[in-house]
Amino acid sequence: MNLLRGFFRFWYDFIVGDSVVLAIGGGAILMAGALLVWAGAEAIAQILLPVMVAGTLALSLPRPRNRTEG
């Protein structure tokens, strides 16, 4: 049982780590890209894929608070 728990724990840490946004985002980006290719918009996918990666990275970060606060 401990071995099984350790196995799942390892993969959870490996894939999710400390950001669920990136874990879900990584898969979602390629799924969205695949849909675009399937719909015949491969040229758009070539541009949108890096944009979505950059956007997901930004989303995974904490929002900076305004300088004037406290």
């Binding site: 990584g26 390629l30 290719v37 070539q46 990666v53 990275l57 904490p62 900076p64 300088r67």
Partner: protein, 257 residues
């Protein structure tokens, strides 16, 4: 050419970072539990990791369809690379504590010392120390194995990633033997930042090919992706620094110490 150079460089840098962390643990075990124990544990872990590469590498290339492999590996590399990049960005912006090898070394030595002095016969191995050394090298090395396997499987040849990773192991181990202390002056966060950009690049590139994209710039797209992700990452560091989010003392730096 671009492809191969990037493969070698990424495998080298990723492996170097992980091996620096493993070296810290091996040094602590060696100092407290004896060098035979530490080196036996490290060598056993290296053998186990090599077996993993030899066992899974050819199987991935020969039995898994390339398209499916590219999608799975691309997704994993993308997630993995973005995680590295996220951590490096947070550390560069001062929002996450830096990885301090000297502090980790002191902590490991303290913990090993606290468990009591171990008196082993001359030349004998202390098994508790062996396990700590083995685990340290094995767990850090797993990430390197993952990179070597995924790079090799996608490129259809393991040479570049194995050469890059092996060169890093030799360099870090050799340096460890010479200096005999943790490599705390290695600019770990800058390396993690670079590796994060590179892994995200390969993840996008191979994942894209897997879903049917025929990159117009071919391998040249790798350089474009590197440039885009590096620029975005630097921009995000600046954006985070511009806010008043609480910073951790001494964490806004690229170096580990």
């Amino acid at each position: 050419m671009t492809h191969t150079a990037l493969l070698v460089a990424t495998a080298f840098l990723a492996s170097a970072v992980e091996m620096v962390e493993a070296l810290t643990i091996v040094l602590a075990v060696g100092l407290i539990r004896g060098w035979r124990t530490a080196l036996t544990g490290a060598a056993s872990a290296t053998v186990a990791l090599t077996i993993l590469v030899v066992a899974f590498g050819p199987a991935l290339v020969h039995y898994v369809p390339l398209r499916g492999l590219q999608v799975v590996v691309g997704t994993l590399l993308l997630i993995f690379g973005l995680q590295w990049l996220r951590k490096a960005i947070l550390r560069a912006a001062g929002l996450k504590a830096s990885h301090d090898e000297s502090a980790i070394f002191e902590r490991e030595v303290g913990e090993l010392s606290a468990t009591g002095t171990v008196t082993t016969e001359r030349g004998a191995v202390d098994w508790n120390g062996f396990v700590i050394s083995f685990k340290g090298v094995f767990l850090e090395g797993l990430e390197v194995v993952f990179i070597v396997l995924t790079f090799g499987a996608n490129a259809g040849r393991f040479g570049p990633s194995v050469v890059g990773a092996a060169a890093a192991v030799v360099l870090v181990a050799g340096t460890g033997v010479i200096v005999h202390r943790p490599l705390s002056r290695v600019p770990e966060n800058a390396i993690k930042f670079t590796v994060g950009v590179a892994l995200s690049t390969f993840g996008t590139f191979w994942g894209g090919e897997g879903i049917g994209i025929d990159w117009r710039l071919k391998d040249g797209m790798l350089l474009v992706l590197v440039a885009i992700y590096a620029a975005v990452a630097f921009g995000l560091v600046a954006w985070l620094k511009s806010g008043s989010t609480r910073r951790l003392p001494g964490s806004a730096q690229w170096r580990t110490s």
